[in-house]
Symmetry: C2
Subunit: 420 residues, 2 copies
Amino acid sequence: MTIYNALYAQSGGVTAVINASACGVIQTARLSKDKIGKVYAARNGIIGALTEDLIDTSLESDADIAALRHTPAGAFGSCRHKLGSIEKHRAQYERLIEVFSAHNIRYFFYNGGGDSQDTANKVSQLSQSLGYPITCIGIPKTIDNDLPFTDNSPGFGSVAKYVAVSIREAGLDVASMALTSTKVFILEVMGRHAGWIAASSGLAAEHEGEAPHIILFPEIPFAPEAFLKRVDECVKKYGHCAIVVSEGVHNQDGSFISESGLVDAFGHKQLGGVAPVIAKLVKDNLGYKYHWALSDYLQRSARHIASKTDVEQAYALGKAAVELALAGKNAIMPIIVRDQGEKYQWSIGEAPLEKVANVEVSMPRDYITKDGFHITDACRRYLSPLISGEDYPPYQNGLPKYVKLKNVAVEKKLEKTFEI
Amino acid sequence: MTIYNALYAQSGGVTAVINASACGVIQTARLSKDKIGKVYAARNGIIGALTEDLIDTSLESDADIAALRHTPAGAFGSCRHKLGSIEKHRAQYERLIEVFSAHNIRYFFYNGGGDSQDTANKVSQLSQSLGYPITCIGIPKTIDNDLPFTDNSPGFGSVAKYVAVSIREAGLDVASMALTSTKVFILEVMGRHAGWIAASSGLAAEHEGEAPHIILFPEIPFAPEAFLKRVDECVKKYGHCAIVVSEGVHNQDGSFISESGLVDAFGHKQLGGVAPVIAKLVKDNLGYKYHWALSDYLQRSARHIASKTDVEQAYALGKAAVELALAGKNAIMPIIVRDQGEKYQWSIGEAPLEKVANVEVSMPRDYITKDGFHITDACRRYLSPLISGEDYPPYQNGLPKYVKLKNVAVEKKLEKTFEI
């Protein structure tokens, strides 16, 4: 078997565990030096591939590559850049082939969400469409948990754990102080289109009266009267009310609530989040003292409280991507397959990229209670294993010791540059 | 030695480790049953003491009391209620004596910040002022880290660790994505009067270019031009800029920045936090895409990432309070004393309540760099040991297993009720 190089790229919003997938790719490739030469990484995702800005991961020590498993965010940089169709944007694909060819790259591993799998699918067709022999395997990643076929998307489980842990802790805080202080607490979480992350907060409410008491989903148009009634009932019954709201919650007319509330001193609308708007609604109508929090990037980078299941799956998918490529597969994405048994067990399967690309899986309606304010037992059964287990990073000086790679650039071989 | 009961109360904003102090008090008292009968806890702090709403902690199992050590927030409830002077509010103090007397209480342990130590001091004088023999020991607690004499205040070290970990993680996220996405990230943290918490984020910046790049302190009046210049330099140099801002940052005229920016649709000022105001300033002047986060209660309840040093000190102070009381001390607060050596070592000392009460310690100016945007090495040397070590709680179903006490009420003995 002739030895070719591989290219690995990270795409889209980064997560607490995307580097664990990178670790899986690179460690597995290092065990197969008779087949894969060097693993290059594209700096800043596909942009690095187009601009021939490649990183030579073979210059990183085994220890540093191993440390990727516990390091959040994108070690090689990521980007939001979607390749268009081959018909309309042929130059981009031809450029990719030039770069691949110049660096003897015959394996491409693209680690991203739905949009990225669409790109991966197009790249996988380059043998047919442009005559360059490339093996392309997608590696799933997205905190949005909206990829089809796979049981869940790496990155999601760790956000889910962060959110559930955070609302449990903040809920206890509010409960302690409610008699004379804050009675309503609101935590805003990510999820513009689907309520998976908001839903996962519901795992913290294992017993009557525990936080969160109310969850607001993008799937359920916001009904202020029913919401305020529920808040009031909750405060009267438990003395306080802890609420988790998805950033994607919208009004009955479809407009985002985050866009409806605040204007700056000049009257311009302020995209300040939905939590303060909900908080003000509570204050104006019920008069309760409130506090609110907005986790933003903290939730998706929180490697310190990552789900062990999530880390293991992210790593396994990276490893599987290399194994599948070496087995001669192309145009597929390894996925997590959930066994049917009572106990959560999973294995690696595969899905064709052409069927993965651009499909968004939404949350089943029966995962949300009829009243629209919490999760059902079915949802709990699905979500609970995904936050299972802790996988703490090492610490030094009281802080997690995350690796910073050398990220040495590969010498450019092409004369032409490429404008993005 | 005659056996008397003890009363323990939590006061003011709760923390990730105040229950560790409660654990220290109760476990130590349980070892001294020949001297201390029952440990009662006041429900919701001093309000429970005034309303004779007491909890019998002797009905809690040893395992549940031990679990307080890893459970955040206030297990018995806390409150914001300051007793006035004995001269003006004599009825409150007489009521306390009635409650103490009815329940054979001769030891009072009051766990709180500066205001609470003022109350503790007044209670400690009841023997003299109102003729009731009481031993009163204050136990320090405040995330604000503004108590005098003690090296630091329990609760602070854990917030400090949370904030430093969070900005390190979010900083890596922003760095990964900066080429095509967010370039400026702002994390708002607590600290209305002092910048201790904001300062602690600076520990994450151990090497050139690491987050946070800029810290905004309440001690330094906000200078928009210098700030914007620094942000721009940072983005040009590192590709991105991670900022930590204290909620207490104010303008040159002394007004809070959080109050200066947003109005709702009716023109009312919106207390929406300082982060969105700073974000908008950056956007309007430099045009960089931004994101911001507001940790709010998440930071002070984050027991999952508590500082081991903080937990140990909180416990030791609770334990010491009981030992000091049994040694016949009164009107004091145990404190943390930092040894002078290179390596961080600490022991328990004591400070008189009358000198602790109502004194706020602010951050030395030489802990902030001359330009006002970061911490100095002296600050780093002071702060670093306080976030040292991890003390993870046990987990069940992927979530921290925090204890919920039974909190059984003690039968009331007084006929009169008391209006707060």
